[in-house]
Symmetry: C2
Subunit: 226 residues, 2 copies
């Protein structure tokens, strides 16, 4: 139970507290490395290491000669640079897909309950693009992505939105592969019925169609993997 906290870890917590308490708000320049070092009575090295970690996590942003700033946190930025390192074996992929199913199905439910006209407009737009780009897998994929993100947005739950986007990024590599092999196919109609159910505020149908859609996707991927 004796958690040994190194100096740099203490600074890490220190900065995190400052940001969390909104003393240092988004976009604001934080104390200089020298100031923190003297304030906390430690060396600049330790301060730098803590900052370096937070930069890696996209919480902070540094500019040489200028200072260090608090980032706004967008999940997509968050993952950049790491994706090439992911080596997902099949087991892990299934875990991700299963988890995605949970999130997406519940997203459909909440979205049907709460989404506003703007959200529906986004979904319709994305669906329109899917129709338009049936033979352009690159743009089709983008439209598909936007469709699901619009649903996530309709849940009005910030966590769901973030998790959704992370899941998508995680699956991106495989997804591209998939579209190249499978093409748009039956996906179009599945999206249409989901969209209609949400527009009708029919929660049960939205859930049902989304479940089928994801389950079909999962099946396709699993078949492809063989």
């Amino acid at each position: 139970m004796d958690e040994k906290l190194h100096t740099s870890d203490q600074v890490y917590v220190y900065i995190k507290e400052k940001i969390h308490s909104q003393e240092w708000e988004v976009g604001m320049k934080i104390d200089s490395e020298n100031k923190m070092a003297t304030d906390l009575g430690i060396s600049r090295v330790s301060v730098r290491e803590a900052i370096e970690k937070l930069v890696a996590l996209n919480v902070l942003r540094k500019k040489q000669g200028e200072g260090t700033f608090v980032n706004e946190l967008s999940p997509s930025l968050y993952l950049n640079g790491l994706i090439p390192m992911i080596l997902m074996d099949k087991d892990n992929l299934i875990d991700v897909l299963e988890f995605r199913k949970m999130v997406e199905v519940d997203s459909a439910r909440l979205c049907a309950e709460r989404c506003d006209d703007d959200d529906i407009k986004l979904m319709e737009e994305s669906y329109g693009n899917m129709v338009k780009y049936q033979n352009d897998s690159e743009n089709f994929y983008k439209a598909d992505y936007n469709f699901h993100m619009a649903i996530a947005k309709g849940t009005k739950n910030s966590l769901i939105i973030k998790v959704n986007s992370i899941m998508t990024d995680l699956l991106m590599y495989h997804q591209k592969e998939i579209y190249q092999h499978l093409g748009p196919r039956g996906g179009l109609n599945e999206h249409a019925v989901i969209l209609n159910a949400i527009k009708d505020r029919d929660v049960e149908l939205a859930v049902l169609y989304m479940r089928r859609h994801i389950e079909r996707t999962i099946k396709d991927i699993q078949n492809m993997k063989k």
Copy 2:
């Protein structure tokens, strides 16, 4: 356009390449900071900064006096990156609770379908501790935590397990005092029926009881906030 790469960033790429090319495999000890510094003809500071970043991203793991090692990269570890982002965002507690409900309810479903005898043993153990420590809120909370973690474990999905623990950490960070104020109370019976449903492999009942349990918890927390 011309990305200006600092020395530490070059080391960052250097290490990443070594790992990606499997020259440094999972679990292996990588070169010491001094060796890399002399090899690359740069200062140890720059090497450390790169390593620090990769540690923050859970790619590397350091042990003082021993060395630096390559971590396994599973999607669940990957989600660790979510924590600082969520903590620093001005998320509202409701979003977290709602998301937790989604995850926990589906966990109950999957657990009832898949858990083995060891998982059930863990749940029974935790439940036994909850009974035992009804008047010791500290230990009661631990037992409660273990009960829910055992269910997550029973899903056999690494992502669910990780997300579950993250949710718990998040709630603790925000509302450490909640559980002390609420005390054991009615939670005992709710856990009992969930446990029995899972043991009976009654998926529908497990889902139903878990949903009620979480919804009651959320209500309690919301009432407390007033």
